[in-house]
Symmetry: C2
Amino acid sequence: MSEPATTVRVNLAERGYDIHIGQGLLAGAASFITDRRKAKHVVLITDDNVDGLHADRVADQLVEAGLEVNVMTVDAGEASKDVDVAAELWETMLQEGTDRQSVVLAVGGGVVGDLAGWVAASYARGLTFFQAPTTLLSQVDSSVGGKVGVNLPGAKNMVGAFWQPHGVVIDIDVLSTLTDRDYRAGLAEVVKYGVIMDADFFAMLEANADAINNRDPQTLIQIIARSCQLKAEVVEADEREESGRRAILNYGHTFGHALEAATGYGPLLHGEGVSIGMVCASRLAESMGLIDSGTTSRQVALLEKLGLPTSLPAGQDPAELVSLMWRDKKVQDGKIRFVLPTRIGEVQLFDSPAQQAVVESMR
Amino acid sequence: MSEPATTVRVNLAERGYDIHIGQGLLAGAASFITDRRKAKHVVLITDDNVDGLHADRVADQLVEAGLEVNVMTVDAGEASKDVDVAAELWETMLQEGTDRQSVVLAVGGGVVGDLAGWVAASYARGLTFFQAPTTLLSQVDSSVGGKVGVNLPGAKNMVGAFWQPHGVVIDIDVLSTLTDRDYRAGLAEVVKYGVIMDADFFAMLEANADAINNRDPQTLIQIIARSCQLKAEVVEADEREESGRRAILNYGHTFGHALEAATGYGPLLHGEGVSIGMVCASRLAESMGLIDSGTTSRQVALLEKLGLPTSLPAGQDPAELVSLMWRDKKVQDGKIRFVLPTRIGEVQLFDSPAQQAVVESMR
Ligand SMILES: NC(=O)c1ccc[n+]([C@@H]2O[C@H](COP(=O)([O-])OP(=O)(O)OC[C@H]3O[C@@H](n4cnc5c(N)ncnc54)[C@H](O)[C@@H]3O)[C@@H](O)[C@H]2O)c1
Ligand SMILES: NC(=O)c1ccc[n+]([C@@H]2O[C@H](COP(=O)([O-])OP(=O)(O)OC[C@H]3O[C@@H](n4cnc5c(N)ncnc54)[C@H](O)[C@@H]3O)[C@@H](O)[C@H]2O)c1
Ligand SMILES: [Zn+2]
Ligand SMILES: [Zn+2]
């Protein structure tokens, strides 16, 4: 028995698209694509974990549906979000006769989605792009919003584009093979949406923490759909990160990024950094009198229930982290913008709180 | 005494921009930029020919105006329109602290413009971009329309984007240092605009061939402005090459590209290939009964007056060129679309004329 599927529409004028969320949806990937685009040739990009687990089935099914398919597999892991890996993909695509009528399909986590999206955005000045995200993080976050790209040495996502997919198909069944840690890392972004935009959703997460931990299908569809919807609302209001609205998605991320950088990208998953970062941001908001301590402790309690870390890893020095933050390239005129909660369900942007307060928030 | 400058507006909704055309305009590049964008940091990209001739003056002037400037110089020539060269530029830009507030300024020909535009489009998901084209070809063609990108081995412009500049400043004085051949190559595209869109303009070129050959400033401003205007009209109607309208700009190019490829990109400049290609296309139109021979001979006469080649280079075999055309990646289902004149000032698209007729048109 499958839970009923659901659709979230991302409204972006002529670039609007559907996100289908349900069980077993990958079995219908071929018609999902051909319903939306007369395609004959699909470049399927995946990584070497997801290939054997899920992508090969998708490829078989596309072939059965009469499509010409080239599967291109990159190494699993962040190191594949790389300029040279993209260049290899472009060349392989050229050799395989990829042209403007070809479509690119990403089957994998955020790494595959960001890389494949970038390759799609730039080959022949832009190919039609579909996403089948396979990690919770990519299902609730990276597959929505059109940010694609690769890293430069020392600078994440420094080369890329805004390139909206033509459609996103989220099959929650693929989550069954995901490690516990990767699953929980995705949950951090889910909690984030509750804090920044939707108190009811936050309360729903509190009430259903057990079902979430058990990866209950109905609950999964519900929280993924709501997360996509909330992110879509922000993206619709600020597609190209111009008005500032999109910045609210960075709640917890200023701290999180500093932690990821300080620990050398690896020991701490992105979602884990965000989890700790949200707690720090909330404490900072407390110290500024924006919220009371109960608002922070609700977040800590929920994150802990979901198995996420809420305090700095051993050996991390708050003062050093703060100087890392202020050295970041994005800092303009010495000002950092923090996203801080004013209650559960609402955040605001604050420019440059006192560095000492930021240090304190991490203790 | 300077001739009065003129402005062509490219109307593309929120991406519209001005093209300033006149004498000595590079001396005002700093205010041209800062009038349009609050900028502090300029990444100036040029090549090693243009650097000493013109770009260093521009850089000095930007510095005098209080801007922070990094000059990045690539080797002159098509080989710099390359994935690895772009990657080096991205890394250098990162090291120099380039951020979203930085702007990129291209000072050079089409190679520099396409490369710098691509780097601008992709760094930090898109920086503001200005062009100061310094060849006639880039002034009348490549700097208008937003196509930017680099080559893959064996495939020109295969990686790129549509990325409109924020403004284009065309200083005709820089043309004084351009070789005769490069100057004439640019004229081929000017003649093209007359044939495809504007009989009066074509007649004006016929009447002013001597002034054009003498690079008379007033005439230059006039023909560059009209060329930009005509290209802008096409681009406004079909910004992303979707409706087919933009295809008319390829008049002479199907033949021209085959010639460039057959001669190994080098012996024949792009504009020279286009010049020969227009004559072939016009003969093909004749053989199909679209035009009389007088329409072709007017083009031949004008092109010859402007010092451009109008027949195949020695040793080129029409039959081989035709098979080259049909092997091109862009050919779909064995069909090639030719842009053919129906009179001076008008072209139409024709799918796949008989291959034998195409062969004959090149004899
Ligand atoms: N574009 C955006 O807006 C955006 C937003 C957030 C994050 N991101 C990016 O997303 C990336 C992180 O995404 P991620 O966490 O999905 O990382 P990931 O793609 O590296 O996936 C994590 C691991 O899970 C494996 N995996 C994927 N699906 C699986 C499955 N169904 N079963 C078993 N294993 C599976 C992968 O092979 C990988 O080893 C980062 O590069 C980050 O910058 C982008
Ligand atoms: N983006 C587009 O829409 C578009 C349209 C047409 C052509 N193009 C591209 O443009 C490129 C060709 O442009 P191009 O002909 O300007 O080539 P180019 O940039 O290589 O310039 C030709 C030569 O002239 C030199 N030069 C430039 N300005 C000079 C000056 N003022 N004085 C003396 N020397 C000077 C250059 O160093 C180079 O050696 C090709 O790569 C082609 O694909 C792009
Ligand atoms: Zn995140
Ligand atoms: Zn051309």
